[in-house]
Structures are given as C-alpha cells and as structure tokens.
C-alpha cells in the first residue's frame, strides 16, 4: 500500500522538482595550447578544458545543431563535440582542416587547408572526399553564395578571392582583392573581405569581380560576421586592435570599439553580447554592444575560433 502511494505520488514529485538550468557555454579554441576552453558565460569561469591533438583554429555547428565540429589542423582530425555538454562524440581523420563550413543546404562540408594549399569538398553525411582542389597560395576563409552553388575562398598568400563551383567542383575564377585577405562574408549580393595587409574591408561584386568600395576600420582588417538579427555587421582588425560595427544597409562604420589584444573571431550570445577571441593576449572579451564596454577572461594561448552554446531550461 505504501509502495502504491509512492508510485502514485511520483509524478507530483517530478512536477515539484525545480527546473534544471543548462548554462550558456562559450567554446574557445586555444590554437597555441592544443585545447578547447569551455567557459560558463554567467560565472565567466572555465568549466573544463578539452585536450585536442595539436592546433585547433576553427569550428562550425552541424546543420542539425547536434554536433560542434572542431578542426585540428596540425592533428589532421575533426572531432565532433556535443555542444550542450562538451563531450567528444567521435573523431574523423581529415587532412589538415583549417577553416570549415557547411553549404547552405547542408549537403557538403568545405574545408580550407591554409598550409597545404588545398580546398576539399566533402559529402557532409559521411565525410567522403568528393574533390580536392589545389589552390595557389594559402586558402584561408570561405563564404557561400546563398544558393549553395559557389564557394568563395580568400587566398591569403596570393592576395585574391577564388570562386569554386560546387556543381562541377572546379575553380571558376580568381580576382585580386588586396594584400593578405582573410575573413569573407556574403552580404546582399556582395562579398565583403578583410584585407589584413591593409586597413579596410573590400566590397567585391562577385559578378564583375570589381572592388566597388572600401570600408575603413583600422590596420590589419581581419574577419567579419553578420549579427544574427541582421541589424549589424561586426568586423575586427588585428593590428590596430579594433571591433567595428557596420551598418548593413549603407556599409558605413557606425562606431569603433578599441579592443587591445588582437580581436579575431566573433560569436554572438542570445542576450546580444559579443564574444571575441583576443589572439595575442591569450584572452577572450565579452563586449556589451549597447555600451561598448567589455571585460576579458584568460583562456589558453592564441585563442582563435569561438562559439556560444545558448543556455536552456530543462524541466
């Protein structure tokens, strides 16, 4: 009888149990330390440090949101992490993965190998290598045309942008953009490219391959990211150490935040905060975009890629 009462009462007990909250996590790839720092965004404390093999630089969330793919270029592998817990699910041996991203339809995974001058196109479902393209010099970052038929790759050593057809898996064209191009995004029919050897981002028309304008943000223009709500673009410069907010319609610089330490990659938190790695300082910064104020947290050496896993409430 007592046991029956307990069984009947257990759903009520479950309902009465307080909801367990999973905190917002920030993943930071320490390229100089062969490790990944997992930071609790609320407490700013490092919760754990995941060992990598050699040199982790970039990461991307799988299209279904289930896996965080972390590329270890020096270790020749990609490992798949549960973004909610930081647990490593599996590893795949891949040749020198540096920057990586999925095509908009999620069917292909494209990987740039900076050191080996190659761009690889993989079938996303099983990581079968479909094509390996030998590129001139240092393929760095990439952006896709929204229809997923073309990927644009910056060639850091050549000072160019190359377009690669994902239908024929062959290079289409290569056009000069400026010294040591790095980050690149597709924005309203244009390509915006960080020209690291200069003080500006170049706006390239992919149809004419002409540079239509320059966006001055500071020496060592590096990467650029689109705010999730589309109301701003955020760009970094690594020499002048700046974070710049750019108007998505006019492409004018709205404001510049001085951020010592060499800001590099950016991730956006659901509360609007901007997290960025400070490459030379061994730190990350959490920037409040409303006030421009920021705080820094020490992580590993040469932090590069960064990702924010939103918190959630588990009932």
């Amino acid at each position: 009888m007592r046991r029956r009462a307990l069984l009947l009462g257990s759903p009520l007990l479950l309902l009465a149990r307080p909801a367990a909250a999973a905190n917002e996590l920030v993943y930071v790839l320490n390229s100089g330390d062969s490790s990944i720092s997992v930071i609790d965004a609320d407490s700013r404390q490092e919760m754990r440090r995941i060992p990598a093999l050699r040199e982790v630089h970039h990461l991307v969330l799988s299209p279904d949101g289930r896996d965080l793919l972390i590329a270890d270029s020096g270790g020749n592998e990609i490992f798949f992490v549960d973004p909610a817990t930081g647990d490593v699910r599996r590893r795949e041996r891949i040749s020198n993965p540096y920057h990586l991203d999925f095509t908009p339809d999620g069917r292909h995974l494209v990987i740039c190998s900076l050191r080996r001058n190659q761009v690889d196109i993989y079938q996303a479902s099983d990581l079968t290598l479909l094509a390996r393209l030998r590129m001139p010099d240092k393929p760095s970052h990439m952006a896709f045309r929204p229809d997923g038929k073309v990927v644009y790759v910056t060639l850091q050593g050549s000072g160019t942008v190359a377009a690669v057809s994902l239908e024929t898996r062959t290079p289409m064209w290569e056009a000069p953009v400026g010294r040591e191009p790095a980050g690149i995004v597709w924005h309203r029919g244009k390509l915006i490219v960080g020209v690291m050897g200069a003080d500006h981002f170049a706006v390239m028309n992919p149809e004419t391959r002409e540079i239509e304008r320059q966006i001055q943000i500071g020496r060592g223009a590096h990467t650029i990211f689109i705010q999730p709500d589309g109301k701003a673009l955020w760009a970094t410069s690594r020499v002048q150490s700046r974070l710049a907010e750019i108007d998505p319609s006019t492409l004018d610089v709205r404001r510049v935040i001085e951020l010592p330490g060499g800001p590099d990659c950016i991730a956006f938190a659901p509360d609007g905060a901007i997290w960025t790695t400070l490459r030379w300082a061994g730190r990350i910064a959490r920037v409040d975009p409303r006030t421009g104020e920021y705080e820094t947290i020490r992580v590993g050496r040469s932090p590069h890629g960064i990702f924010v896993q939103p918190g959630r409430v588990e009932s």
């Binding site: 062969s34 270790g75 020749n76 592998e77 050191r115 001058n117 060499g262 030379w280």
Partner: protein, 317 residues
C-alpha cells in the same frame, strides 16, 4: 610556478608582438607571416630563458669540478655564438624560410596520395587522455631517431665532413651542444620531418619538459668530471658518457656512445662505453685546424668545402 612562468613569457610575447613586431610587419607587407612571427618570438624568449637556466646549472658545476683547465677561451666564445644563433631562433628561422615552400609542397603531395599522417595518439588512443605520457613517448621515439641520425653522421664521409665541426672542439663545455653546421641542422630538420610523417609531431604545450631535455643535452657536453653512477649512466646520458663519445679516439666511424638522451640505444646496439673513470681529451686529430679554432663563418665554409670534397671522392682535409 610553471604556470606563472608560462604566463609571464606569454605576456611578454604578446606585448612584443602587438606593439613592435606586428606593426613593423604590417608596414613591410609581411602580414602573411604574422602568426608565424608569434611562434618565433616565443621561440626566442624561451631560448633566452633556457640559456639562463642552462648557465645557472652548468657553470657552477664546471667551476666546481672541471675535467680540464680552460686554455682557449676564444674557442668557447665561438660556441657561445653557435648557441645564441640557434637558441634565439636565427638559424632555425633561416631554415624555416628555406624549407617552408618545400614543406608545403611535400605536405600537399602526401595529402594528394590519400595518406593522412597519423599521430601517436591516433595509433594509441589511450594517450589522448594522458598528454604528458604521449609527450614522453615522442621524446623516446625521437631520441631513438636521433641515435641513428648520429650514427649515420659518423658513418657517411660527406656527413661526417659536416658533423666533424661539432667534434673538432678541444675545449668542450656546455656551450658546445649547438656547435653544428647549418646544413647539418637542415638535414636534422628533414630527418625529424620524416619521422613526423610516421608518428606526427609532438604536442607543443610542455615547455618545462623541453627545457629539461635541453638542459640534459647541454650538461652532457659540460666540462665537469661527473658520472651518474652504475645505474644512472644507463638511464640518462651523463657528461662522462658523452665526453667518451667526443674523445680523440672516438672520431668518425670509431665512435662510441651515440645516444643523445637515453644510453639504452647504445646498450642495445653494442656501441656503449660505460667505463666510469674515463674522461678523455676531446677533438678530432684528423680534422683541419680551422674547424677547431676558426670563427663561425670559417667553420661553416670549411665544413661545406670538405663535404663537397667527400662527395667528389677527394680527401676530407
């Protein structure tokens, strides 16, 4: 303490790079190499730190119980120059510039073949969770590779022509460790690259362990009458063990005690000399005087000339 030293070196590196090196590289149009520059600053700072540590440990030992009196300070000054050029990164930087394109081509060629070079952690998955053990295993395997490279340096006439620079020193001290021909260093880098193709490169986050191995290598050249005892002599290369290798009767193919860190390789392959009371004079009586007492440039030139002669089948001197 290790963490605070590392953080201090990192902070100095960051400041130097951000305020001096990176702005200069930007002006010179060298931003393509910015990330490599950080590595080189770290290399140089760590080099300074390791020279200080080696000096603090080895110099008092040499003063306390020397094998022989110092009679040729000029020869030691040449060795100091070798050490500074190597440890502060200048010679490795030249090798990097010379080999970088070759390295990218080679890695691309290997990738095109479909072979993805493994790491020890791929081969032994349990090592993933034990990075210090993984590093130690790399040290052991690479030391085995160094044993054989060292034997080949003594076996091939053209290679001995380069390596004899290292053996020509009659006033051997802890500074002698880096006394090598630049071409010999490049061959060493290629040798290391070949092994890395099979087992990967060791993880780079253990500066303390690297420092200890450097200290052991420098100490093995020190002018100190020190043996590590019956057991210790078989575990780690001592000043006594390595001095026997540098002895005047051990030059070229007559060599003994080739090991760099672990004498076990000499033990296994029958090249060990464990006599603990033998501290011979060092030098290469058959080598030209320029290799013993010439300056850095002259030694490099003569070494190259001798190598060319050896390849052409002429007398080595």
């Amino acid at each position: 303490m290790t963490e605070s030293i590392t953080h201090t070196l990192d902070d100095i590196t960051a400041w130097l790079f951000e305020h001096i090196v990176q702005p200069a590289m930007y002006q010179l149009g060298l931003m393509d190499w910015a990330e490599d520059a950080v590595d080189w600053i770290e290399f140089g700072l760590f080099g300074i730190f390791s020279i200080i540590v080696v000096y603090v440990v080895c110099r008092p030992l040499e003063a306390w119980w020397p094998v022989e009196p110092v009679t040729d300070r000029r020869a030691i000054r040449t060795d100091i120059l070798y050490t500074l050029l190597t440890r502060l990164g200048l010679l490795p930087l030249i090798a990097f510039v010379l080999l970088n394109s070759l390295s990218a081509w080679w890695e691309g060629t290997v990738a095109d073949s479909g072979f993805v070079p493994p790491t020890l952690e791929n081969l032994i998955p349990g090592l993933r969770e034990m990075p210090v053990l993984a590093f130690a295993l790399y040290v052991v395997i690479l030391d085995f590779g160094e044993y054989w490279r060292h034997r080949f340096q003594h076996s091939f006439r053209w290679w001995w022509a380069l390596h004899s620079i290292h053996h020509a020193q009659r006033q051997m001290t802890f500074w002698t460790d880096d006394r090598n021909h630049i071409l010999d260093e490049i061959i060493g880098a290629l040798w290391f690259g070949a092994i890395a193709l099979l087992i990967g490169v060791p993880p780079g986050q253990f500066p303390l362990l690297v420092l200890i191995s450097r200290l052991a290598e420098s100490l093995s050249h020190a002018n100190v009458k020190l043996s590590f005892g019956r057991v210790g002599e078989r575990l780690i290369v001592s000043p006594r063990f390595h001095r026997a290798h540098h002895g005047v009767l051990s030059a070229a193919e007559h060599g003994k005690n080739y090991a760099v860190l672990f004498p076990v390789w000499d033990w296994i392959f029958g090249t060990a000399d464990f006599r603990r009371d033998v501290f011979p004079r060092t030098g290469d009586p058959e080598g030209p005087e320029a290799l013993a007492t010439g300056g850095w440039v002259r030694q490099q030139f003569v070494g190259l000339k001798r190598m060319a002669g050896a390849i052409a089948g002429r007398s080595g001197n």
